[in-house]
Amino acid sequence: MSERRPYLRPQPRTWWAHPPYRAYTIRELCGVALAVYGAILLAGLVCLARGPAAFESYRAFLASPLSLALHLLLLAAALWHMVTWFRILPKTMPKLVWHGKLVPQALMTQAATLLAVGCSVALLALVVVVGAWS
């Protein structure tokens, strides 16, 4: 009798495919796309363990246009993950106070994104230098 029966607003089952939730779904799936990249690396390791012949067929796949298209897609997902990750960062960490003033969230996002771009560029430069030098 006295059981609580609150009104629950009906929600269509495909809510995640429509705005404003679509942006959320895309952001989360970009994180999952990175696991696909992890699986590609793991497949490479498995081929490496199986021997030179298996590893050559893995390399042939990586050089194919299909793999290029896939990696361009993964690259876009990784970049979007980078952008959104640092948008969320200030909301998940404690407030930052600098010289008695609250550091604005937008500034933290910009600084962290800049740092990430620096990390990626540094890694790229390192590999190019090592490649040219070896």
């Binding site: 994180g31 990175l34 590609i40 793991l42 390791l45 390399r59 793999s67 990696h71 690259l75």
Partner: protein
């Protein structure tokens, strides 16, 4: 030391452990993900900007046999899986695809198995 059932203390869970793995994977892929995909997936296989021999059997084998290389590969691959597992779990939970227990096994379970597989394959590659 066991906590009595009616204890006012909050129940201790291992959720922070998964959260830590998620955060580490997300941060690692945010900092280096774009460069890594560009290097291993696009530049080395096509020889754009770097010599193709960086991806040769001998070079990759030497990297995977180096203890530091092994550690980098294990951490990178496993954390990518754990990061995606947490995200997929939360998203599927929001989509009401299944119960919490089923979804945890589907996501964390797969990440756990793939972590073990990665470690085993890295050991099989030798030292």
């Amino acid at each position: 030391m066991s906590v009595p059932k009616d204890s006012p203390l909050p129940k201790r869970t291992i959720a922070p452990l998964f959260w830590l793995l998620f955060g580490a994977g997300g941060m690692l892929s945010a900092l280096f993900g774009p460069a890594l995909i560009l290097i291993t997936g696009i530049m080395i296989p096509h020889g754009w900007g770097v010599p193709e021999r960086l991806g040769s059997y001998d070079t990759v084998l030497a990297f995977a046999r180096n203890p530091l290389g092994k550690l980098v590969l294990l951490a990178l691959i496993a954390l990518l899986f754990w990061h995606a597992a947490e995200r997929l779990f939360l998203t599927l939970h929001d989509m009401r695809v299944g119960t919490v227990t089923v979804l945890r096994w589907l996501t964390y379970g797969v990440a756990f198995v793939l972590t073990i597989v990665t470690a085993v394959v890295l050991l099989m590659v030798g030292f």
